[in-house]
Symmetry: C2
Subunit: 213 residues, 2 copies
DNA sequence: ATAATAAGTGAGTAATCACTCATTTAGGAG
DNA sequence: CTCCTAAATGAGTGATTACTCACTTATTAT
């Protein structure tokens, strides 16, 4: 027997809103369209969400908090792997981490698109994003790089923040360009070799090794 | 004597639209607001532009055709091909190229923001962007990298497209993160040291040089 | 100066928007 | 079944939208 769960309609509305927002942008979407997509009456939307903006906020706050959680996990894991075997190849650690993150991103591409589009135009949401994810992530990454610099694994002259931004930029842009060129992703990002190549470039650069004078 | 130029109002409308679109997104903007910002009556807008979409299209097509095509593609080609016989350090060539490009980007940040936001939701404009700028730029960059690979300056195992995307991503994200964190850019991107650091990372990576077994 | 033409205007319009609320439908308790 | 309450509905509402058009103002030609 299929029992109707409470929250069914609310989830239907959220899923519909994610779809419509990601395709038409927040301001380009209408509540009537979201209702239609969700298979509910327009009035039903406003029993679960006070305003249209409230739909967007609830969607993005949830995403932001789940990402904030992964930041905590990342820092914890670094702590643990450090104890286990400190000789672990940094590159392989980063590759594994990236592969895992990309899986999550791939499974939630519309959400990622909404996030990066709308935080530009909603300062309240941008503030939460920066405070809960951007700054903590940067802190974790910088701490990691500084430690590796002391261990002699990363060049001392590398600026940790710049290196972090560079890496995130490489990954972000890989996702973005695939999203734009192909309506649908033809091959999995997390499975493509591009991931490994990016990390290789980050660590070793593109220049051929030369004997320096 | 100040003579009123024809095209004055059209330019005023375009400038106003760039400002409003960049702050509120296309769908979040209204023609009445653009008119107010431009200091013209709302009806005047529709003497120069058939529809609201027509404003956006004219703005972006202009950016893509007159600006991006010549400034990005043509100069990229010139930069990368005209240095061919010189012994100039590739890194310095890239740095000079990037410094110049960033100046143009900085001078047109609102336009850049509109471009990257709206091509997501306007397939007609995205198509023009990809065909006139993305693909030609990629072709030039790939040709350059392949040449340098043959010259032994760049590692043979580097994938040219991945390397290009990585580099563009690094730069793009540097601009993006500054744009988001600070309402206004506090220091010039083209003058900041981050530019040089990014190119250093691209060429040499972050890993400390080790004697490989 | 006058006529002819173009540029500019803003009140007006139909359509659409986010949101409300009186009413209907559904589900569980007794 | 009969209540009772909460969930769901969709026609209705005032505000706002992109766009029009009859009209006014400015510019040019003669």
């Amino acid at each position: 027997m299929v029992r109707k769960k409470q929250g069914d309609k609310e989830n239907a509305i959220i899923e519909a809103a994610v779809k419509v927002f990601s395709q038409k942008s927040y301001h380009g979407s209408t509540t009537s369209e979201i209702a239609k997509e969700a298979g509910v009456a327009e009035g039903t939307i406003f029993r679960y969400f006070r305003t249209k903006k409230d739909i967007l906020s609830k969607i993005l706050i949830k995403v932001i908090e789940s990402y904030a959680q992964t930041v905590v996990v990342d820092s914890l894991r670094e702590f643990l792997t450090n104890y286990k075997d400190s000789n672990a190849n940094e590159k392989e650690v980063i590759k594994a981490l990236l592969r895992e993150r990309l899986k999550v991103i791939e499974a939630n591409l519309p959400l990622v698109k909404i996030l990066f589009t709308e935080i530009q135009f909603h300062p309240d949401l941008r503030k939460v994003w920066v405070e809960k994810v951007v700054r903590p992530s940067m802190d974790v990454a910088v701490a990691y790089i500084e430690k590796k610099k002391k261990e002699g694994k990363i060049k001392a002259e590398v600026n940790a923040e710049v290196a972090t931004r560079s890496f995130v930029g490489m990954v972000f842009f890989m996702v973005l360009s695939k999203l734009m060129l192909y309506e649908k992703l033809d091959l999995s990002l997390s499975e493509s070799g591009e991931l490994d190549q990016i990390v290789d470039i980050l660590f070793e650069g593109i220049a051929a090794r030369t004997i320096k004078g």
